[in-house]
């Protein structure tokens, strides 16, 4: 059938699309007018963000760290942050704008989101203190970890034969969950969450 065969629904008007089309791509497509500085970002951040993510993006409890972790990706305990891990700056604008602050998503102005983006990038030493984020500057920000991403699935990375007999010599139990005291109750009422 050709387009419009069923004819259900209504045409989406430009205004309606504008109200919902909030996504932003690495090439800057989707970024609105407006701008924000690192300093402005610091103010907004203190008001809406630091309570969960810490004054310098260091995280609080199990709320995510937003800065730091440089060079940790090959370590035993990697710290994946905006600075150490994220491949694109656009994602930061997009995500803050769509999902933060956690308890009131999509409540910030575009200028505020630009400012916060500038601030978080600066916390990660990716941009200088005089950086002004806008739809021209952001797509040009090169994230430190961008080139470490492989956007193709290398799997299957394990290729096994279906062995049926004498498939291995020894079997040694190397670890057990017994006695670790990490398992919530699996009968009766739910365990109370630690955060409540």
């Amino acid at each position: 059938e050709s387009a419009g065969y069923y004819g259900y629904g209504e045409p989406a008007t430009k205004e309606q699309i504008a109200g919902w089309d909030i996504d932003v791509r690495p090439d800057g497509k989707g970024l609105p007018e407006g701008s924000g500085t690192v300093d402005e970002g610091m103010n907004v951040y203190e008001t809406y963000c630091s309570s969960c993510h810490g004054a310098f993006g260091e995280g609080m409890g199990r709320f995510p760290k937003l800065a730091g972790g440089d060079g940790s990706l090959t370590e035993d305990r990697p710290e994946k942050t905006v600075g150490s891990y994220w491949p694109y700056a656009s994602t930061l604008w997009d995500y803050i704008h769509r999902a933060m602050p956690f308890f009131a998503p999509q409540s910030l102005t575009d200028d505020q989101v630009y400012a916060l983006t500038a601030y978080v990038l600066n916390l990660n030493y990716i941009v200088d203190g005089d950086f002004v984020a806008n739809k021209e500057t952001l797509p040009k920000v090169k994230m430190p970890n961008e080139d470490n991403f492989v956007w193709e699935d290398p799997r299957p990375d394990i290729h096994n034969e279906r062995c049926m007999k004498d498939c291995r010599d020894t079997v040694e139990v190397t670890d057990s969950a017994v006695g670790k005291n990490l398992t919530p109750s699996t009968t009766g009422p739910l365990d109370k969450g630690l955060t409540e």
Binding site: E1, D23, L73, R98, F102, R155, R162, M164
Partner: protein, 400 residues
């Protein structure tokens, strides 16, 4: 057999047993009538069969997971009340009268559909599993949780009904440059994922029903994407928007999250497929053995690449394997049940199951995955699970 004339139900009494030769109290009385529960609920005797969470895993219950009680489930359908949960900003209360699906971008006819509009399109039903790619992800470094529910309960399976994306994309007239699709949710996370057009046109549906009834709120009421065999996170819930584009959007969930960090510091993105996996559900830590004798070792297997071809079971930690029986129906990208009879002599044993899917892929061991990917890739841990059986019948989560 019979009571006394004097009193009705003379044998009723608190101290009585209810089994033969006694006639149970519920046989000697009337139960409540029909529509006592116009929408039925489980027996109060099943009150322990619930989704559970692990409080120490996440900061907030609003961005968290709950696990399906696999130890209690039978067959392949997960009842809607027990389907696992994964929310990034809680479970929104969406009014289906006000909810809309917008389809726009590189299309000739951008449209807005009400839920009624959507249900007028030709529809399909398919039984598919959904698995969170973080299922079992806390066990890369060692055995932590002693429970089937918490180790593997981020997989569930339902009959989904909805409209093929191909039908909707045809209706809006996709432009030839349209190579990617962005799906966006109406929750507080406004959850987004980029999906390549090839998959979108293959078997993806916009689902409005789950096991016959409207989707549950926890699963995206009133509509969600079902992306068969792919990471649960791509099955965007509370779907509000589909945009056709020429490039992926590199959203937070496909960059910061749901990418697989390798030991050399590189990371693999777009690792969408859930590779084949299986697990023994009986016995398990929650369902221990009760003395030596004949048991049916039973479990579930699935593959994001199609059908389960075979499942093998080992009782000696992977030294020797026997092929299990697959239970009908065996459907593509659906849970499949297997079972194998085992006469337990009361000695210690190490139980494992291993699935082979229709591509010939054989489920790997944890050591193999660790060797290939290290211990920090979080997602896609589809390794063989080992259950340790001790002489008292206890079953424990161990690694070998």
């Amino acid at each position: 057999v019979g009571g006394a004339l004097a009193g009705i139900s003379p044998r009723l009494g608190a101290a009585e047993t209810q089994y033969p030769p006694e006639i149970p109290s519920w046989t000697r009385s009337l139960g409540p009538g029909v529509v006592t529960d116009p929408y039925g609920v489980p027996s109060p005797f099943e009150k322990g069969v619930i989704r559970r969470n692990v409080p120490w895993l996440t900061a907030e219950k609003t961005s968290s997971i709950s696990f399906s009680p696999l130890q209690h489930l039978k067959g392949i359908i997960t009842p809607n009340g027990l389907f696992f949960e994964r929310h990034h900003a809680g479970r929104p209360e969406v009014d289906p009268q006000q909810h809309r699906l917008m389809i726009h971008g590189l299309v000739d006819r951008p449209i807005i559909l009400s839920m009624e509009d959507l249900q007028r399109f030709p529809s399909v039903s398919q039984i598919n599993f959904i698995e969170c790619p973080a299922n079992g992800g806390m066990e890369w470094r060692g055995a932590q949780l002693n429970s089937l529910q918490f180790l593997h309960g981020m997989v569930s399976c339902a009959e989904w009904t909805g409209v093929r994306l191909s039908t909707l994309l045809q209706e809006v007239g996709m432009k030839p440059e349209g190579k990617w699709l962005l799906a966006e949710g109406a929750d507080g996370a406004a959850m987004t994922r980029s999906i390549p057009m090839e998959k979108a046109l293959d078997d993806v549906i916009v689902a409005y029903a789950q096991n016959g009834e409207a989707l549950r709120r926890e699963q995206g009421y009133p509509i969600r994407l079902v992306v068969p065999g792919w990471e649960g996170n791509t099955h965007v819930k509370w779907l509000r928007r589909l945009e056709v584009g020429d490039k992926p959007w590199m959203q937070r969930e496909e960059t910061s999250k749901y990418t697989d960090l390798m030991p050399d510091g590189t990371a693999h993105g777009f690792t969408w497929v859930m590779e084949a996996k299986s697990v023994i559900t009986s016995p398990c830590p929650e369902m221990p053995l009760r003395g030596s004798g004949i048991y049916q070792i039973e479990g579930i297997a699935w593959s994001g690449k199609g059908k389960v071809k075979a499942v093998d079971v080992s009782v000696d930690g992977g030294r020797n394997w026997r092929q299990a029986r697959l239970r009908e129906p065996v459907m593509s990208k659906s849970l499949t049940r297997f079972s194998l009879e085992w006469n337990w002599d009361g000695n210690p044993a190490l139980l494992q199951s291993r699935v082979i899917d229709e591509t010939g892929y054989v489920q790997p061991t944890l050591s193999q995955l660790k060797e290939a990917r290290g211990t920090n890739s979080i997602y896609h841990k589809n390794a063989i699970q080992t259950w340790q059986v001790t002489p008292d019948g206890s079953v424990n989560n161990v690694q070998v």
